[in-house]
Symmetry: none
Subunit: 403 residues, 2 copies
């Protein structure tokens, strides 16, 4: 049996407070030459102190060799086995823009795209139109009349991105993407992947046809590409599972959406890194599990920018004393996945992680927070969901099992 | 699939002999200052030699973050997944005093307690009355006539502790504790937690009422508190699973009880640590798996006594050459759980473990037996049940799997 079932059964609510600081895509690979990763190269005395006084290790978000998307990576951080819950891109988009998705709704992510005179996609992102332009076009698409008994919601995300949500009785969500993932070919037709989804496919096909008509003549965004059709999965909340009162401090919609899926409360997002200390201070009241998400490490990794990834770590480190204050009994620092600068993409490599909890974790002799130091850390290498188990135990939130 | 299923399927009986030395609660945390644990600080040349010539690692009795009771901890040591078998305190108490518990019997642990004039518990342990006093009172309680068709057994454990066993047709064991776990309140009423247990609850309630009447007027032990109602779980024996002929060398009732649950033979207990070498020598004949249990490390941990925990390790180490003789092919040294002196309680931290088996285990470069050295050990960090798998393999008792 998965030991997390025991952790659930033994979970107790206590006054102790846990902060989980997630630096998105933090994990990296040693570069040629000096063998340093951005995390190892960064000057980060505060993170190093947490590592020295705490316990370190490496954690597999899903499993060895598996590159996680943001959904599975965060499920692992939140103590879930990501292989048990699949969350489609459409659902992530919808919950990430504060859309009140209901069970049974079918949601898809859409891109505005540019289509040439022959009907072939020439730009899958319509030149990354400004968000305001997106809003104008979405307002026009909202005029498309829905079929009887069905509601269709068209929502702006940002730039060329948006979400399409279909609401009605007995909808199926097994629809193929219409995004061909490359240019020079037409968008794919709307297609049901099972019988139960055929009526939904017809609804979506009619919407796409009407949208094409409305967008005809637009200079750049004259088409839509849909992907990631899905419905809300049934995920037990962190409160149901571990009796936590969790709250999210994150700027980016997708991570807020993931946090909402596991039942976190959602105060207004801090607009920039400098606002994080105040946001954490405010979120502390009435909550015992604070999820704090920093996106910029991942962005630097995706851009292959070693120095910028370092700089983000250093910026977070400088804010750390103010973020932590003396308000937490247990501090977790880790990542949802690795995004090595050499690969410019998510990767399958385990993420570094630490738990600081004075007198409650095994001080393992690690003296700095880096991937290489974590190899010899006291946690060893474990599935990422066990990081939360260790933190809950360190916080005194897991009762003894058995006589 | 749990790899232990394969180990079971491939298990072979051979002449090789395994000794498993368990130091209860051995695992600990590095103290501030010198960063030593009691195990690291102890002078223990013999254990260090086993570590140096063997292979070390760290082992999770149940799983990361989970604090095991003695039952789950020992199940892990014996190669079982503790999450599959729950053993109530009552069953442990009964089997631990050599009571021949039968399937369907309902057993509870009881404490003699002191109740004040208002019926409130003033001492949950009745001033820890001497065992002889316990025996005198138990003799009186045995005079309570049982209901028709039912047998009731009242058994002395030690000091204020005892076991109550109810035997009859179709009994249920889902009864709530009557021990309120604190003083200043009356004992809780006997209560069935499911419909099937209601007749049993009535039997126990009648017993408690009669006991209260008999004990009225006793100066200290004038009441009983019951907890941990349970029936024998169905656990396949070590012989059924791994074709072992196991035997137990342990002094304390609970650990003898646990060993009996997995089918170990049970020669008379050695009364003190000094008698262990002779007891091991005697138990060697006719057996190929010797479970040797030392309690005193755990006691020192529970008392927060660093130096005494060291001293127990040193005492065991001094006896080790005599205990081992040249009679074993494989030696395991480990623990059922950690009991850090700083926490004075069982904890969730993985336990250190070693296997010595010349030429059969990976010599990992570890030079001393300690929690910190084990971080870099050849076994890494694993569920505790896999320690037995490694030992069985080192003893040549696991046949090749597959062609």
């Amino acid at each position: 049996m998965d030991p997390m079932r025991i952790v659930e059964a033994q979970a107790e609510q206590t006054a102790s407070k846990i902060l989980m600081l997630v630096m998105d895509g933090l994990g990296d690979l040693p570069r040629y030459g000096d063998g340093l990763t951005p995390l190892a190269a960064a000057h980060k005395p505060n993170l190093d102190r947490l590592a020295r006084d705490g316990c370190c290790g490496r954690f597999d978000p899903v499993g060895p060799g598996i590159t996680p998307g943001s959904g599975p990576g965060h499920l692992g951080l939140f103590g879930y086995d990501p292989s048990e819950y699949e969350i489609g891109r459409g659902v992530l988009s919808a919950v990430g823009i504060d859309f009140a998705l209901q069970p049974g709704d079918v949601a898809a992510r859409f891109n505005f795209c540019t289509v040439d005179a022959e009907g072939k996609v020439s730009d899958r992102r319509a030149g990354r139109i400004p968000t305001e332009e997106n809003r104008r076009l979405v307002a026009r698409l909202r005029e498309i009349p829905p079929p009887k008994g069905v509601e269709v919601f068209v929502e702006t995300e940002a730039e060329h991105r948006g979400a399409l949500i279909v609401r009605g009785a007995r909808l199926g969500h097994r629809l193929a993407d219409t995004d061909p993932q490359r240019t020079g070919v037409p968008p794919l037709p709307v297609k049901a992947l099972d019988a139960a989804s055929r009526p939904t496919a017809a609804i979506v096909a009619a919407f796409v046809k009407a949208a094409d008509k409305i967008l005809r003549g637009e200079p750049r965004a004259n088409g839509v590409l849909l992907r990631g059709f899905d419905s809300l999965p049934k995920i037990p909340s962190l409160t149901e599972r571990f009796r936590l009162r969790p709250v999210c401090v994150a700027t980016y919609p997708m991570y807020r959406g993931l946090a909402r899926l596991v039942g976190m409360e959602m105060p207004p997002p801090p607009p920039a890194l400098g606002e994080f200390p105040a946001a954490v201070r405010a979120a502390r009241e009435g909550h015992d599990f604070l999820f704090v998400h920093v996106k910029y490490t991942d962005k630097a990794g995706e851009d292959g920018d070693f120095d910028r990834k370092c700089a983000v770590v250093e910026e977070v480190d400088a804010l750390l004393p103010e973020i932590l204050g003396d308000g937490f009994d247990v501090v977790i620092v880790s990542a949802d996945h690795s995004t090595p600068v050499a690969l410019k993409a998510h990767s399958w490599h385990p993420v570094p992680g630490l738990i600081w909890a004075p007198g409650r974790v095994f001080r393992d002799g690690v003296t700095a927070f880096s991937e290489s130091e974590c190899v010899g850390g006291g946690f060893g290498r474990m599935p990422l969901r066990f990081l939360l188990a260790e933190a809950l135990a360190a916080a005194g939130k897991v009762a003894k099992f058995g006589a």
